[in-house]
Symmetry: C3
Subunit: 164 residues, 3 copies
């Protein structure tokens, strides 16, 4: 077992199943796209362990509290780790986190987006450590997100060259 | 003629002329920036064959229907292919689509952004096939876009190394 | 002194101190993340020479005029150059600007985002010249930004290979 998967187990973290899309919805793109040693991550939202969309949905600062949104960002991180594991076989192939773009479905006047996306960053640092897990980041307010999810995150990780 | 240009012809697709900017507007940046084997694509909107902004403008879910927005995303894809062809000489230099960020000018409560951006993705898969055309993707709701266009898309493609 | 730092001095440009975060705010990510020859830039906002958030805050087209927003985009550029200089030691290590994503905190109906982000692009071309400074760009309207800043910009630069 690779060290990253062992680390997940030590932390008691179980990754969710892939997102179950609502009936009639087709996503004609992969969750992770590999080009050379780069793995590009499509926009993910928060899901439950069974792959269903996590509640609550809606706008942060109105329907969803800051605390709930922090959890949503962590759940989004778990969904991303699940997609990466499915695509890569093992999370141990990741040599560095690169870039994260954190989007918060924001009610008018809500501007604590960084505190929300910390739910994602804290998870990544917890699992990968400060050096591998470090990433450039933006955390900003979107007016609408698909399916009214409170948080969506996309990004990129770098892979060890021998896996290219 | 390269296979991609032949494919466009077989599909009956004619690429539009470059965007005609409104009077007084200056864009001090290139539509495509090449760095090594990477081609970065600036944010594009939907245009007509003559390079003028395509109608209708406005917010999807209010001024623009889902069906019209799907077409706008496809027109945006044609604008991007035109910019890539101008910069690269031939679309055959593209070895892989990498990442797409799809922005939908969204009316309050509109959250079918993925169904809109499918207009772009369907075009790319049609022209490049499922393997080369695959791309990581986000499709999200923006509150305002330049000139009130309904859709804006930016992204990245990878080039064959011998072209670097 | 490297040619870029000399160029800054010739232009009379003094870079600001790093951003002073509001009390209680923690940013668990670096301003610049280096992976190989790529330097990824986290989302920055406009700051004063002492590192405090620059005024005015708020929505462009309502609280902040187009002219003030252009200045805010330029100040954001100076903040980014400061972060790059801290991380790289010298701005001369930059071989090419790659990609810029310009986000404008937009009041309803404001859609001159490109004219705002020109404040950033004009600065970069001024300092690095048209060839090195060229970058793929999007300039779009966000509904809310952290701390209610009027402009946020993230992006990427390429480094000379011998610095990798």
């Amino acid at each position: 077992m690779s060290t990253t998967e062992q680390r997940l187990q030590d932390l008691g973290i179980v990754l969710p199943k892939p997102l179950q899309l609502p009936p009639g919805v087709i996503f004609p793109f992969p969750w992770v796209r590999i080009v050379g040693t780069r793995a590009l991550i499509s926009g993910h939202g928060p899901i439950n362990p069974d792959g269903s969309l996590a509640q609550p949905l809606g706008k942060v600062g109105l329907d969803v509290s800051l605390e709930q949104a922090y959890v949503a960002a962590r759940l989004t991180g778990l969904a991303i780790l699940s997609s990466l594991q499915h695509k890569l076989g093992s999370l141990n192939r990741i040599s560095a986190w690169v870039r994260i773009f954190g989007m918060v479905n924001s009610a008018p006047g809500f501007n604590q987006q960084p505190a929300v996306i910390n739910g994602f960053t804290d998870l990544i640092i917890e699992v990968f450590g400060a050096e591998v897990g470090a990433h450039a980041r933006s955390a900003v307010g979107l007016t609408e997100l698909p399916f009214n999810i409170p948080v969506e995150i996309e990004g990129e990780v770098e892979l060890h060259p021998n896996d290219a």
